[in-house]
Amino acid sequence: MGLLRRIWASPSGRLGMVATLLVILGGVAAPLIATHMPNQLDVAARLTPPSGAHWLGTDHLGRDLFSRALFGTRIAVGVALAVTATALVAGILLGVTAATAPPVIERTILAAFDIVSSFPSLILALALVAVLGPGLLNIIILVTVVFVPQFGRVARAQTLAVKERPFVEAERALGASGGRILAFHILPNIVGPIVVLASMNIPVVITLEAGLSFLGVGIRPPLASWGTMLFDGFTYLEQSVWPVLVAGGSLTLATLGFTLFGEALRDALDPKLRREP
């Protein structure tokens, strides 16, 4: 609880926390809050501005933008969390293996990381879509691949640093096995920076998924994704600005919230920046 209080103590942390909570709550409670079904058509009211019936207006098929934005949150945050969690676990596994395995395995893993991260992430994602095809599950898999190396590199560097620390040798002198040292002495000492990295990674995944969906290779219609909403709105921009505003606004709120929250989390976890109460 002390950690959340420290995040709350900084103004930007407070903003990030509120925005993040709003986005997550919106996604979780979407079916309760939404005024319409996300795919419910109302052809009579196409591209209308906000009104009593449609709080944030409608899109080119007369679908309620407020409800679609809420359900889009589920996709955006769901994909971001799934990707980050998978990349985090895979990254730790590969990074710790690289740091402790024989040089051949280490070099293989590092070379794989280098290959993946030598492509701009959007280009690599596009290439992988071409191989796997679009769809929710494929998007999660390929975006994960894009993000594994950064977790892996941090995990490896941290492990290399921690395993040389004297308490690891002290533990070995007390008869701890290699596995025990990894699980109980190295892992708990490396997760801090990796968790911070993960929280900063969430907004990046959200924009990447939206970007892929905007380009038409991500989430397939009629599933409500901010990226597809943005693209549809963009097509009809001359007739109504509301679809773009709603999708773009949601995207901004989510990425800004998670970014500020991540930065505040990093500062709160850094003992050097910690102010004594």
Partner: protein, 322 residues
């Protein structure tokens, strides 16, 4: 005097592989550690005393090359014991206190958790509650007040002296037959050092195992040890019961070390005594007596290597003059 041997080191040689060739860190070291005694290992930095301690634990570094000789614990050669069994010996029959208590505890676990953990090789059948109780009693024994509160504390909340007491408690909880203390007071300030020395001295009385004390401080060694082995450039050059060694040193290196101790009677401004020259090259080891190059009393015979010979009962020296 009952001199039942617990550990017998016979002709132990250890090489480290380096880019320039094999570094002969230990050469033909023989030493016996009697049961229930405190044996001091003294020597300057790089003399191989810490490597000897690590060899006893079976924790030689990854770049270790050839190892030959024997380390017998109750007659069993530790160099032949499979790694998994050796691991069980550590924290069971052999335990170690490290030099720097500030970094030798895991920062993310409480003292209690780490003390409980340390005992699992020795008492696998006991539950966490019993182990915590034992840890509590041991903290009291090593002079930590309010042990319940300390068990819940994290390492960064304790002072250096307290952490070293925790390290000592951790080692003692393993009830080892042999306890290796590698410069246990080097990282502490003098007042705390004195307290820790007194603690070790007190514990010696009711500790049933042997202690190997590695140090470069002759004062600490003379205070605590029953026997001393002086090491130089990977060899034991002199060994004897403490009183005899300090009363009647027979090796020029021991004499030189003793002369280097700071004498408070000296006038301010007077130059400190040093041993001229540096450690010999341990990759391309010079022939003959290893100390000859720095020895004030060398003579013709020193081109041959002197063996470690008994010069009087229990007193061995590797010098032609001894």
């Amino acid at each position: 005097m009952n001199r039942e041997t617990l550990v017998e080191i016979k002709n132990l040689s250890v090489d480290f592989s380096t880019a320039k060739g094999a570094l002969h860190v230990l050469r033909d070291v023989s030493l016996s550690i009697p049961r229930n005694r405190v044996v001091g290992l003294v020597g300057e930095s790089g003399s191989g005393k810490s490597t000897l301690a690590l060899a006893l634990l079976g924790l030689l570094p990854d770049n270790t090359g050839e190892v030959s000789g024997r380390i017998e614990l109750d007659g069993e050669n530790l160099l032949d014991v499979p790694p998994e069994e050796l691991r069980r010996l550590r924290g069971g029959r052999i335990a170690m206190i490290f030099q720097d208590p500030m970094t030798s505890l895991n920062p993310v676990f409480s003292i209690g958790t780490q003390l409980v953990d340390a005992q699992r090789n020795r008492h696998p059948q006991l539950g966490r509650r019993e182990l915590l109780k034992r840890a509590d009693e041991m903290l009291k024994r090593v002079g930590i007040s309010n042990p319940e509160a300390r068990l819940a504390a994290y390492p960064h909340q304790l002072s250096g002296g307290m952490r070293q007491r925790v390290m000592i408690a951790m080692a003692l909880l393993c009830e080892p037959d042999i306890l290796i203390a590698d410069e246990p007071t080097t990282a502490l300030d003098v007042t705390i050092e004195a307290q820790i020395v007194r603690l070790l001295d007190d514990l010696r009385a009711d500790f049933s195992g042997s202690i190997v004390l590695v140090s470069h401080s002759l004062g600490l060694i003379s205070e605590l040890c029953d026997e001393v082995a002086v090491m130089y450039a990977g060899k034991v050059v002199e060994s004897a019961p403490t009183k005899i060694l300090f009363g009647n040193p027979r090796h020029p290196y021991t004499l030189a070390l003793l002369a280097c101790e700071i004498d408070p009677e000296d006038e301010p401004g007077e130059a400190l005594v040093t041993i001229k020259g540096g450690l010999p090259d341990l990759i391309d080891v010079p022939k003959g007596c290893i100390f000859a190059a720095r020895c004030p009393s060398r003579f013709g015979k020193c081109v041959e290597e002197p063996p470690l010979c008994e010069v009087e009962a229990g007193h061995k020296s590797a010098c032609w003059l001894a």
